[in-house]
Subunit: 498 residues, 2 copies
């Protein structure tokens, strides 16, 4: 049995390594690859996916899992081996449900839809995107069917992004949030806050140096990180010692700084996975939502906080004196926290952000349950934007076509952005409970305390437990929107001042 | 049978794609990877090698090859399919000789030897490198044994780098070259040529721009290329539309310009492989020597020629006026072609270069045939450097430890550098025969003619034929040192002037 366990580990180590290779290839494609290389890259990634799927669904894995089953039950459930075997079984059992041909069709449909989406977005022409979208949706229905009859088909899709989370649970949480956010936004939207100095001239070379400086300040092993420019920022990497975050520099705004802090949070999560199981599939973040809890925490709970800016604002003023010399901290802080409904999710402020996600989650429900015709999506989108954020959608590029997710077949993904944001506040409050002087430490430039607390309390678990169990171990509670809503009202309900 | 051929192609397409993935990972490692990522990368590359080896030695490939054998014989031997089947059979038959375990041991020994070599080179301490070198040599003996009794064991090693080339043939060619080069070097070495202006201040940013300019001038599809800095320059890529060349910029010399032209030659060869078979293993250069014929041609026959510099020198003067303003073309041309025995192969001039290679080839013979104790290599090296180039070797770092090849287990590789150089002149003379005004065209800035001639006459064959057959199709002759020797004597025997 010990031998069977070793064999399983060896096979799943290969899967983890293949994932690292694919991540690197995708990173390369999205940062520095010569554009014409896209054809090779698509084929290479598809091949790696096929190889991985074949390895994961090898009947030998099923036999080995049976062989170790009696022992698995006797293991300490907190042990690395127990965590590994839970995840291995879960991965295997999900993978064998889906025929290889369907996987290949899904991959091909995504690959074909993406360039059509790019073109449709460029020309703001939703009808152009309709056919590939229909194809992706149809394939998701076939995918769901692989798992047998479902009370809630969307559960199957959601589970791929947020393991064991249920649609009903997300709906409950999102309804609770919506009920509070809509009136809060209405109250805050017309506050007169000057943010004019956040537009202007922010030379890119100085932004690059500043992004480096802020990630150095937050902390990481410098021989194991890169920061590179890209079109749509993301974090990636080939393993805990090869972390790559990306950002997009706009010469007329400071946006890259917040984007860098966001991606730092993702990068740090993977970077601080314990070395002893980093080579196994449990050696990564527990879920997309938990990942987002880390990125949103560094971007918002640190990166838009008073203590951080008390420490760091003089430095930013020094780097961009033309823009910020005469701007006091209070005004700067108010500006970076201004609430203003806007069209684009990834540029939304902390308060309106949630409504962008809820809108997408609701539309996905209607799509999967056949309650909306796909050709009507622009209209549905505009109605919800008006109802939730009170703004008009001028065109599809700034509406239903803004995100790449549906083109890539990622239906069921969006909710994790808000679930993670909710969790980020729960985790934050536990950190503050454990380290009562966390604010003072940050104000003094100490971010190691928070980084290490996250390492010990969140990152240490890797993917050994379900996301909710991971959160419970970190905070004592599963997901709960109340701390998040209280935080928003506390921070934004009162007049803002640093 | 048509189906068997398709199946074979599909399997070998996967092998070609896996090779592209490994190339990209190696490129990344040698250019931009965070240093700590080396552990992940070694494991990832080893896994890809194992997967590739398993795929190549799958008994199904043997059966498919048998199935298509009758048809293979009836194919036009010049056809793509015939070329593909010849290569596929050769790859399969070689791969199945070698146990997977031995392959893994060889890969591991190379991986372990490389950092020891780096350290030994840094501290110029050959004894430190002795043990891993012994291990690599011992594993090569075991490798050779896999192929049964051999009259000439070195043939087996050579064949991996230069298919179907024999040790005796290389010895014959190298003896012919040595007999002419040693006296030619003695004659040229003391010529008084001023090259002082080639040392000084060549700001790196301007070198970067100039390297880009010269590769643009030579020509390629710009959306399919990158040039990046690295420690030891090389050319690589993930496919014909994703070509990556690298160079090293020294702030005090123009060396990067010649290195860039060299790597351009390698890159162009892969870039101009016909698209119709680029996805198969025949879709790459025919051998290391033929590859080197392309790089040495662009570096030397173009890049150190009068016509090129008549066209390009004014531009280089313009870019580096501080260094070159007062230096006329004649003096510049003489300086970049100065013959001067030196310690380091990769910095050697066109004339002395050959002796560096011959020395290594001779030492490798002695190693493989057990005629030298490995611990005596520094002494043997010094003796040959004295005999062939008349210079003293001050330390191991500038002697036997200078190249990474033996640390990487690449025994049998070196001769291809000189074989390729010899071929470069044969190919060049055929190009001039076909395009009599080639010099005038280059002098007028037209490099497309040469590029296209190479595409039609060399690159078009990919790896469909043996290296010698490829050369014969391009030039009418197999390898012949006479044109090379005549070229050197013609160019360097007379006083040099542009």
């Amino acid at each position: 049995v010990a031998d069977a366990l070793d064999q399983l580990k060896s096979r799943f180590t290969e899967l983890r390594q293949l994932f690292g290779v694919s991540s690197l290839l995708t990173w390369d494609q999205r940062t520095i690859m010569p554009p014409a290389g896209v054809t090779h890259r698509g084929q290479q990634l598809a091949l790696l996916q096929r190889i991985g799927h074949d390895k994961l669904t090898d009947p030998a894995i099923g036999r080995l899992l049976e062989e170790v089953a009696p022992v698995a039950e006797s293991l300490d459930p907190d042990s690395d081996d127990a965590g590994f075997l839970r995840l291995a079984r879960r991965m295997y059992e999900k993978a064998v449900q889906v025929p290889t041909d369907l996987r290949a069709e899904m991959a091909l449909a995504s690959a074909e839809a993406s360039p059509v989406w790019v073109k449709a977005k460029e020309t703001s022409d939703f009808p152009l995107f309709l056919e590939p979208l229909e194809r992706n949706v149809e394939l998701r229905h076939r995918y769901v069917e692989c798992f047998g009859p479902q009370d809630e088909p969307y559960d199957v899709l959601l589970d791929d992004f947020e393991p064991e989370m249920k649609t009903a649970e997300v709906s409950r949480i999102f309804d609770e949030i919506k009920a509070e956010l809509v009136p809060l936004i209405a109250e805050l939207r017309d506050r007169d806050i000057d943010a004019s100095f956040l537009s202007g001239s922010f030379p890119v070379d100085r932004q690059v140096a500043l992004g480096q400086e802020v990630t150095d300040l937050f902390g990481h092993r410098p021989d194991a990180w890169r920061i590179d420019p890209t079109e749509h920022p993301f974090a990636s990497g080939a393993g805990i010692d090869d972390i790559r975050i990306t950002t997009h520099y706009y010469a007329d705004s400071l946006e890259s700084l917040f984007s860098t802090m966001h991606e730092y949070g993702h990068g740090l999560y993977e970077h601080q996975i314990p070395r002893r199981f980093a080579h196994l599939p449990i050696g990564s973040g527990a879920s997309l939502a938990l990942h987002e809890s880390q990125s949103r925490m560094w971007e918002n709970l640190v990166g838009r906080s008073v203590p951080f800016w008390r420490y760091f604002y003089p430095r930013v003023q020094e780097v961009f004196p033309e823009q910020l010399r005469g701007v006091e901290l209070d005004r700067f802080y108010a500006a970076i926290n201004r609430v203003r409904p806007s069209l684009i999710r990834i540029r939304a402020d902390e308060v309106t952000y949630g409504m962008h996600v809820i809108l997408r989650f609701e539309i996905e429900q209607d799509i999967v349950n056949g309650r909306v015709e796909l050709r009507d999506l622009p209209r549905v989108w505009a109605e919800k934007m008006d109802a939730y954020l009170g703004i008009d959608v001028p065109d599809d590029a700034n509406g239903v076509l803004q995100d790449m997710h549906w083109a890539s077949g990622l239906i069921g993904y969006f909710s994790t952005y808000l679930l993670g944001t909710v969790m980020s506040v729960q985790i934050w409050e536990k950190a503050v409970e454990d380290v009562p002087d966390l604010d003072e430490r940050m104000e003094g430039g100490d971010f190691a305390t928070l980084r290490e607390w996250l390492g010990d309390n969140v990152h240490a678990h890797g993917r050994k437990f379900t996301p909710q169990e991971t959160l419970r171990r970190a905070t004592g509670s599963t997901i709960d929107a109340k701390p998040y809503l209280a935080y928003l009202k506390r921070k934004y309900g009162a007049p803002v001042a640093a």
